[in-house]
Symmetry: C2
Subunit: 535 residues, 2 copies
C-alpha cells in the first residue's frame, strides 16, 4: 500500500509539473516571437494564477502541519543547510527590492497604462515573503501525512519557481538584446537601459523612473538566483516526502578548528583580496567608454582568473592524489540526501561547462587573434579542467568516513584481538591496508565516531594537507562566486561570443549558464566546508 | 571497495559524456549561426573522431567479452526487449540506405568538391553496422569485469548517439527552414528539396543526384529515431554495469492467448484500417498544390485523430477505474529496469506534450478562427488528456502482480487456516478487501505464481475488460505510431504554428518533439502488451 501510494503521488505530481512547465514554455516562446498575439500580459496572468495557487498551498501546509502532531515526525538534517537558506533570504531580499522598484516605476506610468502591470510585482512580492518563510521553516521536513497532496503542492512550487526563472532569464536576455548589433566596442549593458517600461509614447510622471528602471535591471540576476535556490529546496523537500529518516544516521558533530592550518587560509585570503581588487578596478574601467581601458580591464581580469584557476587545479589534483594514497573507509549505506546533494553539485556545474565550451569553440573558430583571445581560451580550458577535478575531489571527500587519527610508527600490540575485531567490522582484505593502525584505532572505527580530540596536536601530514587544500579551495571559490554574482560580465564585454554566435544565442547561453555557475560556486563552498570538517 | 569503484566510474563516465555533449552543442550552435568560422566540415571531423573512438571501443568490448568467461555473468531479462532491438534494426536499415544515397549523391560532386564529404557517411555506415550488431548481442549484459572502462565506453556511445541525433535534428530543421516564409499556403516540404548538396555553382555529374537528394531527406526521420533508440539502449546498459541480477526475479512465463477477447481487438483493427486509409488519402491530397484539397485532407486527418484519441481516453479511464476497484497486489521490491522503463516512457511522452501545448497556445493566441483551428485545438487538448491517463494506466498495470483467478461467489472454507496464511504474507487490512477469495487463491498468492491455466474458461469481467482495453489501446497506439513515422506532418501543413512562433522555433519544436512522440508510441505498444499478458 505504501509503495502504491508513493508511485501514484509521484506520478501525479510529476504530471502536474510537466504540464505547467511545458504550457509555460509555450507561452514564453510565443511571447518572445509574437508580441501581438501573446502579450506579456497573458504571460503575467498565467504566472499570477500559478503564484496565487502556490501561495495558498504553502499557507495551507503551514497551518496544517502546525495543528497536526504527526504530520512531520522526522527532519532530514542534511536538507536545507544554512548556506542554502541564507542564500535564499539574501537573494529574496534583493528580489523584494526589485519588485518595489518595479511597482514604483509602474506607478509613474499609471496615467497612460493599465493598472494590471502593478498587480504582478505586488503578487510576486507577497509570494516571495511567504515562500522564503515557508522554506526557511519547513526545508528539513519529511512529511508523513497527506503525502500525495504535499507532493503535488511541492511540484507546483517547483514548477512555479522554474517558470519565474524562465521568465526572468527571457526578460533579461531580451533586455540585453535591444542593443544595436553594429557597435560591439562599447560595452552593451551600459547602453541598454531604455528597454523595459512600456511603449514609447507614454511618459513617466515622476522623475525617479529612469533610476528605478536602471536599478531593477541590475537586480534581475539576484531574482534568477532566488528562483534557482527555491527550486532546489522544493525538489529536495519533494524527495523527502514520506521518508523515514534513521535518527542515528547523523554524522558525529565535528568541531570547526582553524588553528591546525595556516598556508591554505593565508593563500585563500590573498586570492580573495586580489580578486576583490581586480573586480572593483574591472567594474570601473570596463564601463569607462574607453577602448584601451576596457581591454586593459579584460586582460587583468583574465590573468587574475587564470592564476587563481591554475592554483586551484594544482591544489585539487594534489588533494585527489592524497585521497588515492589514503586508506580511509568509504561511507557505507545509501544516503539519499547525500546523493541528491552530489547530483545538484554536478548538475549546477553544467552551466559553467556550457559557457566555457561555447567560449572555447568561439575563440578557436575566430582563429585566436591577439592576446585577449588567447587568454580567454586558456582561461576557459583551465576552468573546464578545474571544474572536473573539483567535482571529483568534493565527491570523494564527501564519501569518506571522518578521519581517524593514526600513528605512523606504532605496531600491533595484540594481533589476535585485532583479528577478532576485524571479523566484525571489516572485510579481510582491509586489514592489509591498515597494518599500521594500533588497536585503539580499530575500536574507534567500530564505534564510528571520529574522536579528533584524542591526540589533538598530532595531525598527520595527509590530514593537514587536506585541510589546507580545502581551506584554500573554499576561499578561492568564494572569490569566483563574488565576481559574477555582483555583476562582472566579461562574456558580454569581450565581443568574441557575440561575433561567432548570433547575439540572441550568446545572451541565452550566458544568462542560463551563469546563474547555475554562481549556484555551483556557493554549493562548492558549502561542500568544501563539510569536507574540511571530516578531514 | 565496490561502492567506491562504482561512484568513481559513474562520475568519470558522466564527466566524459557532459564534456562531449556540451562541446558538441557549442559546435552545432556555432555552425548554425556562423557558417564561415565553423563550417559543417569542422562538425563532421568532430563527429568522425567520436564515431571512430566509439567503434573501436565496441569492437574491443565484443572481443573482450567473447574471450573472458566471467565478463558477463548475468543477463537482465527486461533490458533490450525485442521491440527495441527490432526497431533499432529497422531504423538502422533505413539509415544505412540514407548513407548510401548520401555517398552516391556526393560522388556526383566529386569533380568540384573535396572528397572529405564522402568520408563522413561512409564512416557513419560502418558505425551503424557495428553498433546495431553490438546492441543486438549485448543489450542485456550486466558487465562484471572492467566495469569502469565499460561505463566510460557506454557513456561515449551514448554521447556519440546524442550528438548524431542533435546534428540530424539541426540539419533537418535547417533544411525545412530554407522555404521562403512568404507563402505558407503551399506545403513547405514539397518546395524545400534543393537545400543540401553543396554550393550552387557546382553541378552534379550524374542525373540521379536530384532523386538521391530528395530520397535521403525523406529518410532523415528514421536516422533521428535510430539515434534515440541506440541512446536509450546504451543508457540501460550503462545502468546495468556491475548489477547482480537475481535470477529468480523473473516473471512467470505468461502465455499469449487471444481467444478471450473480442471487442477490443476488433475495434482496434477498425482503427488501424481507418487510420491507414486516412493516412494514404492525406498524403496524396496534402501534396496536391490545391488549397481546397489540402484543407479537406487536414480536416479529415484531425477528425480521425480526434475520434481515435477520444475512444482511447474513454477506454483508458475505464481501465484506471477497474484498477481502483481491483484488489490485486502491487509488485513488491525494487526493480531498477522496471523503474528505468517507466522513466523512459514518461520522458518520451514529454515530446508529444511539447507539440500539443505549443499548438494549443498558438491556436488560442490566433483567436481560433475557422473549423480547422477549432479541430486542431480540440485534438491537442484531448491528446494531452490521453497522454496523461495512458501514462497512469500503463504504470499502474506494470506495477501489478499477474492476475489471480477469483471466484466471485465462493466463501471461506476455513477461516482459521486463512488467517494463519494471512499473517505470513499480508497485512491485516488486506484481508477485508479479499473476503471473496477462497483458500486456494491465498495459497496461490503466497507462492506468487499466476496459474492462469487453473480455471481457463472463466475470466472475471474485470480481467476480461482489462484485456479488451489493453488490446484496443495497443492497436490504436500502433495507428498513432504509423501516421507520423511514415511521414505525415500536419504540424507543417497547417500554417498556424509557423504564424504564431517564428519559423525556426516551430520547426525545432516539431523536429525535437515528434521523434520522441514516435518513440513514445512504440514504447507504449510494448508496455501495453506486457500489461495485456499480466492482466
Amino acid at each position: 500500500v505504501h509503495e502504491k501510494g508513493r508511485n501514484w503521488g509521484r506520478l501525479l505530481s510529476g504530471l502536474i509539473a510537466v504540464n505547467v512547465i511545458i504550457l509555460g514554455s509555450a507561452l514564453v516562446s510565443g511571447s518572445v516571437f509574437n508580441k501581438v498575439a501573446i502579450t506579456p500580459t497573458h504571460l503575467q496572468i498565467f504566472l499570477t494564477v500559478l503564484i496565487i495557487l502556490t501561495t495558498i498551498w504553502m499557507l495551507y501546509y503551514s497551518a496544517y502541519t502546525s495543528r497536526e502532531d504527526h504530520a512531520v515526525l522526522y527532519k532530514d538534517g542534511h536538507a536545507g543547510p544554512i548556506w542554502l537558506r541564507g542564500g535564499l533570504v539574501l537573494f529574496g531580499l534583493c528580489s523584494l527590492i526589485m519588485d518595489v522598484f518595479k511597482i514604483a516605476n509602474y506607478v509613474g506610468y499609471l496615467h497612460c497604462e493599465s493598472a494590471v502591470k502593478i498587480i504582478f510585482p505586488s503578487v510576486q512580492a507577497v509570494f516571495m515573503l511567504v515562500q522564503t518563510y515557508f522554506l526557511w521553516i519547513h526545508a528539513k521536513d519529511c512529511v508523513q501525512l497527506q503525502r500525495n497532496i504535499t507532493r503535488c503542492g511541492l511540484m507546483l512550487t517547483l514548477s512555479t519557481n522554474l517558470m519565474l526563472w524562465m521568465t526572468a532569464v527571457t526578460e533579461e536576455s531580451l533586455h540585453q538584446t535591444v542593443v544595436p548589433n553594429t557597435n560591439h566596442s562599447v560595452a552593451p549593458r551600459t547602453m541598454a537601459i531604455k528597454a523595459g517600461g512600456g511603449n514609447s509614447e507614454c511618459e513617466c510622471s515622476h522623475t525617479a523612473c529612469g533610476i528605478f528602471e536602471q536599478a531593477y535591471y541590475y537586480l534581475y540576476p539576484f531574482n534568477i538566483e532566488y528562483s534557482l535556490f527555491a527550486s532546489a529546496m522544493a525538489y529536495v523537500m519533494w524527495k523527502n516526502v514520506g521518508r523515514l529518516v534513521d535518527q542515528h544516521n547523523h554524522y558525529p558533530h565535528l568541531r570547526f578548528r582553524l588553528q591546525d592550518v595556516l598556508v591554505g587560509p593565508a593563500l585563500g585570503l590573498i586570492v580573495i583580496v586580489v580578486g576583490l581588487a581586480t573586480f572593483v578596478v574591472y567594474e570601473v574601467d570596463v564601463t569607462a567608454h574607453d577602448e584601451g581601458k576596457r581591454i586593459r580591464a579584460l586582460t587583468m581580469h583574465y590573468i587574475t582568473t587564470l592564476v587563481v584557476i591554475i592554483l586551484m587545479s594544482i591544489a585539487t589534483i594534489a588533494g585527489c592524489i592524497i585521497y588515492r594514497l589514503d586508506q580511509r573507509d568509504h561511507v557505507s549505506g545509501k544516503n539519499p540526501t547525500r546523493r541528491l546533494d552530489v547530483g545538484l553539485l554536478c548538475g549546477a556545474s553544467i552551466g559553467q561547462f556550457l559557457i566555457c565550451y561555447f567560449t572555447v569553440v568561439a575563440v578557436v573558430a575566430s582563429g585566436v587573434m591577439g592576446h585577449l583571445s588567447a587568454l580567454n581560451l586558456v582561461c576557459s580550458l583551465f576552468t573546464i579542467i578545474q571544474l572536473g577535478v573539483q567535482n571529483v575531489f568534493i565527491i570523494e571527500g564527501l564519501h569518506r568516513e571522518p578521519f581517524h587519527e593514526t600513528n605512523d610508527d606504532s605496531v600491533f600490540s595484540n594481533a589476535v584481538a585485532v583479528n577478532s575485531h576485524e571479523s566484525a567490522s571489516h572485510k579481510p582484505s582491509d586489514i592489509i591496508g591498515e597494518t599500521k593502525s594500533n588497536i585503539y584505532v580499530i575500536t574507534d572505527t567500530t564505534h564510528n565516531h571520529g574522536h579528533t580530540q584524542a591526540q589533538p596536536h598530532q595531525l598527520t601530514w595527509k590530514r593537514r594537507l587536506l585541510k589546507e587544500i580545502c581551506a584554500f579551495l573554499l576561499l578561492s571559490n568564494v572569490t569566483l562566486w563574488i565576481i559574477p554574482a555582483f555583476g562582472a560580465r566579461p562574456q558580454f564585454d569581450d565581443p568574441i561570443g557575440v561575433e561567432i554566435y548570433n547575439y540572441n544565442t550568446w545572451v541565452a547561453v550566458v544568462n542560463i549558464g551563469l546563474p547555475f555557475g554562481i549556484f555551483y560556486r556557493m554549493h562548492s563552498v558549502a561542500s568544501l566546508f563539510e569536507v574540511y570538517l571530516t578531514s
